[in-house]
């Protein structure tokens, strides 16, 4: 082989990346990505703009902390009752769902035989996919009467006789109320937390499990020592995303929470959330200030959801374990 036969191939880097196909592809993904950012920003801005009349009239904090919501006579509006309703139902649902969701995930991913875990996973995904109005109507006709007759009324009667101090906290045992809504929310978010936790468990490297086993760890010890610590980022992020879903859940809550717009809310008695007041009142909001107040509630709900999602992303990054390193 002489040098005459070898031909040097010169390709300039710009030529590699300058081809038309690459350019078109790069521009289109850039545009599509930008549309997402633009839509989100535009939504926030327009919500604020549409709600600005209420926000200026009652003040940013004034509207947020105002306890009065009177679309009939005084036309005074404050979002505080709905914020209380949203925060207490969703945090309550989060607290109630966390342990069962993790337990189901541990069973599904670690203990159940292959065929059973397959079935559970599909069922969990199915429950997560049921439209919330369907869960709502089930709640109205099945769950609400059941919980009223088997839990609320007996407990209420018991407290009348034994602990009268409790009755104002319990509230009227009518079935439709804060507790019912919270339990339904719990049922709705368990599948989310479970599914995300199962995924997080499945991402734990085989080496980590084997390392724990090789130390003489029992099955539960392997889970405690290797599986759960390694997947903590995924578990926490899944929990936060479930919280986001609970905060935004509208239809089932509106159907079951009883829709009372004034504080104080009681355990059994009716209440409302930011999402439920919007869906219940936007059709009847004829006065401008009423409509803009609903828009403003929507704006605050948007903000809260945004914060929860950002927090989820932050937590996941902070606690994620990547490549054997805890960051």
């Amino acid at each position: 082989m002489s040098d005459n036969n070898t031909k040097k191939i010169n390709v300039s880097p710009s030529a590699l990346y300058g081809w038309l196909g690459d350019r078109i592809f790069a521009v289109s993904v850039f545009v599509l990505g930008f549309i997402v950012i633009f839509t989100t920003l535009a939504m926030a801005i327009s919500l604020y703009y549409e709600g600005s009349e209420a926000i200026t009239r009652f003040g940013f904090w004034g509207f947020l902390t105002g306890e009065k919501w009177d679309p009939a006579i005084t036309m005074e509006f404050g979002a505080w009752p709905f914020i209380v309703g949203t925060v207490s139902t969703s945090l309550g649902a989060l607290a109630l769902s966390f342990i069962p969701a993790i337990a189901i995930a541990v069973f599904t991913a670690e203990y159940a035989p292959h065929w059973l875990s397959h079935i559970i996973e599909n069922l969990v995904n199915l429950i997560a996919a049921v439209p919330s109005v369907v869960i709502g109507i089930w709640g109205v006709f099945v769950f609400t009467p059941w919980i009223r007759d088997t839990v609320e009324i007996p407990v209420y009667i018991w407290s009348l006789e034994n602990a009268p101090g409790l009755t104002p906290i319990l509230g009227n045992p009518i079935g439709y109320g804060m507790m019912t809504a919270t339990i339904i929310l719990t049922i709705m978010i368990i599948p989310f937390t479970t599914a995300l936790t199962v995924d997080a468990f499945r991402m734990v490297p085989k080496e980590q499990r084997e390392a724990a086993s090789a130390l003489g760890a029992t099955k539960w010890e392997v889970i405690r020592m290797a599986v759960i610590p390694y997947s903590r980022g995924g578990i926490l992020a899944g929990t936060m995303l479930s919280l986001g879903r609970a905060i935004g859940e509208t239809m089932a809550v509106a159907m079951l929470i009883g829709n009372k717009n004034t504080l104080p809310f009681t355990l059994f008695g009716p209440g409302s959330t930011m999402a439920s007041v919007i869906v219940n009142e936007f059709r009847e909001a004829v006065e401008n200030i009423h409509l803009t107040s609903l828009m403003a509630v929507g704006f605050y709900l948007f903000l809260i959801s945004l914060i929860v999602n950002l927090a989820a992303a932050y937590i996941q990054r902070k606690y994620a374990v990547t490549g054997g390193r805890a960051v």
Binding site: S213, L215, M225
Partner: protein
């Protein structure tokens, strides 16, 4: 193999086979492992040496569809006795893996004493002592003694592997299985670990899988050559590397295939 008999027997397999589904990964291997010696398992990739090693502490129990037949004995006790909890076996027979496997969220200290905490040791003073002793044994103490509380995942690859070894040693295993412990490490860390194996063999029986023949000849007393799932030849390392009985062994040692 007459000269093999002179040492004390620790671990023995008789006709051991490992199946993944229908196919045997290890076929009918009978091997005697001697106390406080280093035994190297060598052979080309996929020849079953790791599969054989993992059969010795019942790691195959964790793999769906894996089945072990034949006998494996430690001090005459059947490792695969159905009444015997594999957890007990794994406390006697420690293991170090190919990739370093510190628990990334635990501190260096907690990593080392993890195995002791499993069996219920809570005495701080004892744990401190064991932690220092194990880290000294694995030649990591001087590098980490001032930061025992930092996460195990923050160490370099070579340090992580020595941490894994310290963790395995902390429970004072009788036998230590090492599955290509240096294959993901740089030459310097490899040196440290090979020195370490030399220092440890007074205390534990070591079985090491390696694809590096120089390593086998440097660190081991006995060498077993595996090929396509079968044990081809087993003898003192010096014999295997100077005048093997089998033609295949010689071909592999001299680099004619592999």
């Amino acid at each position: 193999m007459d000269n093999v008999i002179e040492n004390k027997l620790r671990l023995e397999t008789i006709g051991l086979s490992v199946f993944y589904g229908e196919n045997p990964g290890v076929k009918d291997v009978s091997l005697k492992i001697y106390d406080k010696k280093v035994t190297a398992l060598i052979g080309p990739s996929g020849c079953g040496k790791t599969t054989f090693l993992r059969a010795l502490n019942r790691m195959h129990d964790l793999t769906r569809g894996a089945k072990v037949t034949g006998k494996a004995l430690i001090d005459g006790q059947d490792i695969y006795d159905p009444k015997l909890d594999p957890v007990i076996i794994r406390r006697k027979i420690g293991m170090v893996f190919q990739k370093p496997t510190p628990f990334p969220t635990m501190s260096i200290y907690d990593n080392v004493v993890a195995g002791l905490k499993l069996v219920g040791f809570r005495d701080r003073k004892l744990l401190d002592e064991v932690c220092e002793r194990s880290l000294r044994q694995s030649a990591l103490w001087d590098e980490v003694k001032d930061r025992l509380k930092t996460p195990g995942g923050s160490l370099s690859g070579g340090q992580q592997q020595r941490l894994s070894i310290a963790r395995a040693l902390a429970v004072e295993p009788e036998v230590l299985l090492m599955d290509e412990p240096t294959s993901s490490l740089d030459p310097q860390s490899t040196n440290r670990i090979e020195e370490l194996i030399g220092e440890l063999k007074d205390q534990v029986t070591i079985i090491i899988v390696t694809h590096n023949m120089q390593q086998a000849s440097r660190v081991s007393d006995y060498t077993a050559f595996f090929y396509i799932g079968s044990l081809i030849e087993y003898n003192k390392t010096t014999k295997i590397f100077t005048s093997p009985d089998q033609k295949r062994t010689e071909e592999y040692i001299t680099g004619q295939f592999g």
